[in-house]
Every structure is written in C-alpha cells, then in structure tokens.
C-alpha cells in the first residue's frame, strides 16, 4: 500500500516468501519509483550538459536529441575574449564566495559558541532576521551607502552583501552543532588551568572541525549561487557567474548552446563539490530542523 510495506524485505519471516516470489509488486513498485526519481532529477541536468555540446542547429532538431557530433564551439563562445572575460567572472565568483565565507566564519563561529553556551536566543533572533528579510529591501539603502563611500564597482560591497547571506547560515549551523557538543571537555580543560577563551580555542574549536566544514561548504555554495545582490551591486569587471549568464540572452534571439554552456560552467564546480562533500551538505541543511 505504501512504501512503508517495503520494510518487510528486511524482516526475516516474509523474506522466505520473497525468495519464492522474487518479483513481489512492492519490490517492483519501489524500483520503479526510485528509477523515476533518478530520471526526474538527473534527466534535466543531463539534457543541459548535452545541449551545451550541440550546435544550435542540433538543439533545434529533435532527431539529434541523443545522437550527435559533440562540439566545443559553445564553450569557445563563452570563453571568447572578444566577448567578455569569462575567466575573470569565474575568479570573481570564487573570490567573493571565498572572502564572504572566510570573514563570516571568523565572526560567526565564536558568536555561535557564545549564543549556544549562554543561550542568547534574542541575539540569535537578530542575526537570523537576516534570513527572513527580503533582500530587495536592503539593496536600495546599501547601494546608496556604497555610492556615498565611493565603493561601488569594487569587491567590498559584493563581499559584504554575500556575508549577509553567509553569516546567518554559519551561525545557524554552528549553533546547533555547539548545542549538541558536551560542555564537560571545556570544563575539565579549565580545571586543568586553561582560561575559558583558551579552552574554546584549544579544545572546542579543534573538535568543531566537522561542523565548521559543513558551514564552510554550504556558505560557499550559497554565495556562489547568489544572484540578486550581484545583479545590483556588481560592475562589469566584478560581475559574478550567475549574472554573466545573462550575456547570452539577446533582445532578438537566445544563443541556446552558449547559454547552456555558461550554465554548465556555473553549476559544474558546485556539483563537483557536492559530490565529494554530500555528507556535510546533508547534515548542514538538516541542522536544527530535527531537534523540534
């Protein structure tokens, strides 16, 4: 009836009946459902990658859906130095995500520790407010302030705005990490003569590496993927990859092949990171949600 019935597979007694009838309908149903999930989530991404290796003529031709002569021409268009310097945009995305993450870690990890240990729920609310507020409502004032300080066009407004995304995220993940970490180790370290701050840096911090890794990866991903802040605050020389994608949408026509190649260029690095760090990503995304 539901997927729950499949637990019968692991229960010892029904397993014998399964041996007699290996193609029980729940097993088949489960397999079909899982295959559909894989197809639904992987299919579109595969299609995007395939299209990025096709000429536009081939994209327009359904009979060339899967069998075609792959070409690198679209990637040539994307990286064509006459059109714009895509390597610079890659660097911009990387640099902004890296700086925003690094600076947010320095600020947010100790803050998460204090807010967890001293149960500073009101202070945490202030920082988490940043996750709730619509970003547009901050952009006009930010733009004005950065213009007054003659900082527009540089990296600083971008890094600061991305920190606004990273810092609450890191704080949230690290708070739930510290909440679960026993205090006894810090306390015994203090009995052994360390100061409270010393205990944090020498005992707590080294033990927090898994949590910090989780927070770092997620912060980098969300900063890399951020679009709206860069759309307003970046200049032609500091523009990040999600903004640069729009270069391939003209008023008259869309260069589909190049657009797909540009999309692959922005998503591939992040998907590769995800492949190797999925355990951390899952623990970060679900942090706090399961404690009720």
């Amino acid at each position: 009836m539901t997927a729950l019935d499949t637990r019968a597979v692991v229960a010892p007694k029904p397993q014998q009946t399964y041996r007699k009838r290996p193609l029980h309908w729940t097993t088949v149903g489960r397999f079909v459902a899982l295959a559909l999930i894989v197809l639904a989530f992987l299919g579109p991404i595969v299609w995007m990658v395939l299209a990025s290796f096709k000429l536009n003529v081939q994209i327009y031709d359904p009979s060339k859906a899967f069998i075609f002569d792959p070409t690198l021409e679209n990637y040539g268009t994307v990286f064509d130095p006459r059109r714009g310097n895509y390597l610079v945009y890659i660097w911009n995305s990387f640099f902004v995500a890296f700086m925003a993450t690094a600076l947010s870690l320095v600020l947010a990890v100790p803050a998460a520790y204090a807010m967890s240990r001293f149960v500073m729920n009101k202070s945490a609310m202030v920082v988490l407010m940043a996750r709730i507020i619509p970003g547009v409502s901050l952009l006009v004032p930010w733009y004005f302030i950065f213009a007054q300080l003659k900082m527009t066009g540089g990296y600083l407004p971008l890094v600061l705005s991305h920190m606004f995304v990273s810092l609450p995220l890191i704080l949230y993940i690290m708070m739930s990490f510290f909440d679960q970490m026993p205090e006894e180790l810090e306390e015994s370290a203090q009995v052994d003569g360390l100061t409270a701050i010393g205990a944090f840096f020498r005992i707590t911090l080294p033990l927090s590496v898994p949590g910090i890794a989780t927070a770092t990866i997620l912060s980098f991903i969300f900063s890399w993927n951020n679009f709206m802040f860069a759309l307003v605050l970046s200049s032609s020389s500091t523009k990040t990859l999600p903004v640069a994608i729009f270069d391939f949408i003209g008023y008259a026509a869309i260069d589909w092949g190049a657009l797909m190649a540009a999309s692959v260029v922005v998503t591939t690095p992040i998907m590769l990171i995800a492949l190797f760090t999925q355990r951390y990503i899952v623990s970060g995304l679900t942090a706090g949600a399961t404690k009720g």
Partner: protein
C-alpha cells in the same frame, strides 16, 4: 575597576586575559550582532523612512514626506500589487504542497537501506546545490514551446504541444514546477533526517496492535514528525515567498510582458531598479516583510499550540 580587585601582582596580559574571559559572551557574539545590525537595521529603518516619502528617480534627489500616500496607493492598486500578492501565495502554496508530498515519498523510499542508495541520495542532492539562475535557464530550454524536450516527450504520447512559459495562463504554474524540481530534495532530506531520528518503538507497538502500513504512517509517523514537518515548511516557505532567481531568469524584468509571474519580490525589485520609484517600492517591501512575519508567526503558533 576589575583589575583593582586582584590583590596579587599580575601582569597586564594576565589581567586582559581575565577581563576577556569574563566578557567573552559579548566579545564573541558582539561583532556578529554589530555586523548584522549595521547591514540590517539601518537599511531597514531607511526603507521604512523612504516608504513615507515621495523618493524617486535618483537616490540623490531631494524628496518630501507624503505620509501614508504610498501605502494607500499600493493597497488600492488592483492592477499590480494585489495580483502580485496573490501570485506570491499561489506560487508558495503550490510549491510547498507538492514539495511536502513528494519530499515525504522520497524520504520514505530512501529510509530503509537498499543497494545503490548512495547513488540515489547523491542524485537527489544535485538540484538543490545547482545555481538557481542556471536551473532557470535549463528549464527555459526544456519548456521552449517549439524546440523544448518536454513538448517533444508529450508528442510521443500524443499530447499536443503546450506553451508553458510563453503563455500568461501557464507560466506561473510552470515556474512552480521548477521550484518543486529544485527544492523537493531539500524537504526530502530534512524529512529523512527526521525519520532517521525516530525511535522504532511506536512503530513496533502499532504493528503489534495490528495497524497496517498506511495506518502506521498516518497515525504514528506523521504525528511524531510534526515538528520536523513544520520546520521544513518554515524553512522552505520563507524562501519560496522570496523566490526571485528562477522568475527573473526565465521571464526577465517585471515577471514577463504581462507581469504573469510578477510576485511581490519581483514587483519590489522592478519598482526599485527599473522604475526607480523608491518611495512606493519601500512601502511594498515593508508590506511584504510584514506578510512574511505574519506567515512565520502563524506557523510558530501551530508548532507551540500542539506542544503545550
């Protein structure tokens, strides 16, 4: 003052260390709070201030107070404002409903171990780490009425081609689908973490009492999962209300030529940066913020109501 209380002869470094230790609460938390307050409270206050003025065109131009004029104008605007409120809620409600149902199905399927589980989990993770703008572009090609693969697949089973994003009557639903594609994995992972943390005993007790699979799910698992489900709704709901990237990537400025996917966020963005109507935009943003807070408040009440 604090140093005077230490009678023995201690060095400046030692005294500083003790002072820092006593004040570590605010030394640690202060910079983060200050950073957020600076980048949040001041702009938010400014937006509130601008919402009572006639600021427009240039941020440097002089402007005057006009009282509640912006708010009255916005709240009586049945052409752009109220439709965008409706679209915001339709998009969010549609996305959340399907994400919860499909997310629960996926979580249940991934709950018990099977061969190839790791691969499936990895694939499920891919949409949610993918760059939303690129996801928008990807679906824009897939849903292209003439060359898109979706219509090609429909033609295999004899369904006529649909306009999808190209038609105002179907574009918002199509984009809701894109949101569901990208964020169902997130809901599934949260629910899966919740399922994994459940103890087996209530399930076993229900099984002994003769409950079938559906009964065990509906009367045992779902009530136990209630806090996790609400947490998932809260997290996803806030982001869905504020969706911008895929809407802008597929339909461009103003939510398309007929504003057919113009949600509150897209509308406020357009007012701010396309029309430079800062006063009106600020009023819309303050109302939008209040709507989000109200939604959160209702959900929190739901959570607390059952707990007490």
């Amino acid at each position: 003052m604090t140093s005077l209380q230490t009678p023995d002869d201690v060095g400046a470094a030692e005294r500083f260390s003790r002072w820092a230790d006593r004040n570590r609460k605010w030394l640690f938390a202060g910079p983060s709070i200050a950073f957020t307050a600076l980048l949040l409270a001041i702009p938010l206050g400014w937006t509130l201030y601008l919402s009572f003025t006639d600021a427009k065109r240039s941020v440097r131009r002089d402007f005057d107070f006009n009282g509640l004029e912006n708010y009255l104008g916005v709240l009586t605007d049945t052409e752009r404002f109220w439709p965008s409120v409706w679209r915001t809620f339709a998009f969010t409600a549609g996305a959340l409903t399907f994400e919860l149902i499909l997310g629960m199905i996926i979580a249940l399927l991934l709950w018990k171990p099977f061969r190839g589980q790791g691969v499936v989990r990895t694939i499920v993770l891919l949409p949610l780490v993918a760059t939303p703008v690129a996801v928008g572009m990807m679906w824009r090609l897939l849903f292209e009425p003439n060359i898109g693969f979706i219509n090609e697949m429909l033609s295999w089973v004899g369904i006529p081609p649909q306009p999808w994003l190209a038609d105002p009557s179907t574009s918002l639903a199509t984009l809701t689908f894109v949101d569901i594609w990208q964020w169902t994995p997130m809901v599934a992972l949260i629910l899966l973490a919740g399922l994994t943390s459940l103890s087996d005993e209530p399930q076993e007790a229900a099984r002994v009492d003769g409950a079938n699979g559906w009964q065990r799910f509906w009367y045992v698992t779902v009530p136990l999962m209630r806090p996790v489900i609400i947490a998932a709704v809260l997290l996803r709901g806030i982001d869905a209300l504020k969706t911008f990237d895929i809407l802008y990537a597929t339909k461009g400025k103003g939510g398309g030529a007929f504003h057919d996917v113009e949600t509150l966020n897209v509308y406020a963005y357009g007012l701010s940066f396309d029309y430079n109507e800062y006063g009106v935009a600020s009023a819309v943003l303050i109302l939008f913020f209040l709507i989000i807070l109200a939604v959160i408040w209702v959900l929190q009440m739901q959570r607390k109501g059952r707990e007490s």
